[in-house]
């Protein structure tokens, strides 16, 4: 037989537990509400080989299939050349070489079947050659995390953060860093 005082103690503990749970649920709800009301970021996801990258759609002017690219003598290794983009001159850069400038002696990449992501930031524009363009996605701003510590420091300056997508981390590119040599 349970004493009256025992029941009271149990009830008290349960009530305390329920109160705590209620407080936590409320806090969690607030966090969720904050997350939902936080400004969303629209990102374009693309790949270089198996490595995924994202860039804020606000800086993406268009995505093109490469046409004939005229090479430029004396230009930096990452410059693939100039392309006639609907009557505008577009400077096309190899994103792989932008991110890994040490590979200067590599032959110029084939452009067939690839994509050019045209990025405009602070009045400066360039097209970046990428292998595949996957998706546009909208994520809460809180989904953008700091650049992973495992990223090579020489490369880290090209990223403004990391985004989790499909169980993988993809680097969120900084348009400014990619456009400015």
């Amino acid at each position: 037989m349970v004493s009256t005082s025992g029941v009271s103690a149990l009830d008290g503990a349960r009530e305390e537990l329920l109160r705590e749970a209620s407080i936590e649920a409320e806090a969690s709800g607030r966090e969720k509400a904050q997350e939902e009301s936080a400004p969303a970021r629209s990102l374009l996801l693309f790949f270089l080989g198996a490595e995924g990258f994202a860039v804020d759609l606000a800086h993406v002017r268009k995505v093109l299939r490469p046409s004939r690219i005229a090479r430029v003598s004396g230009a930096a290794p990452e410059v693939l050349g100039l392309m006639n983009c609907q009557g505008e001159v577009l400077c096309v850069l190899d994103l792989r070489r932008v991110l890994s400038p040490r590979k200067e002696t590599d032959p110029l990449p084939a452009t067939e079947g690839k994509f050019i992501v045209v990025i405009l930031h602070a009045g400066k524009e360039a097209g970046f050659l990428v292998d595949t363009v996957r998706d546009a996605m909208e994520l809460p701003a809180s989904s953008v995390h700091p650049v992973l510590e495992s990223v090579d420091p020489s490369r880290a300056r090209f990223f403004e953060g990391t985004v989790a997508f499909g169980g993988h981390f993809v680097g969120l590119l900084s348009p400014s860093a990619c456009l400015n040599p």
Partner: protein
Amino acid sequence: MTTGAIDLLVVDDGVALRGYDCLDVVRVEEVAGETGGYRVRLGRLGPPREVACRGVLGSVALSAREIRPVPEALRERIAGEKPWAVGLTGREIYLLY
């Protein structure tokens, strides 16, 4: 110069097509020897200079609307002599020096 068009001497520098104002061209000489190619002497309009090239392709007239500024992203990534403009026709892209 102010007629809204420019006649360019088009040369192949081995990588790209370069255009030089025909009015600035003093002479074009064939270079003898193994290297071959051509030497273009310039300086009627500006300071005298010489340009070596692999081939001389002829001349082309570009209207003002076929001349575009050099994209900044490219200008910043060219070492040495920089083109002053880009010629853009339906067929070709020329770098104007």
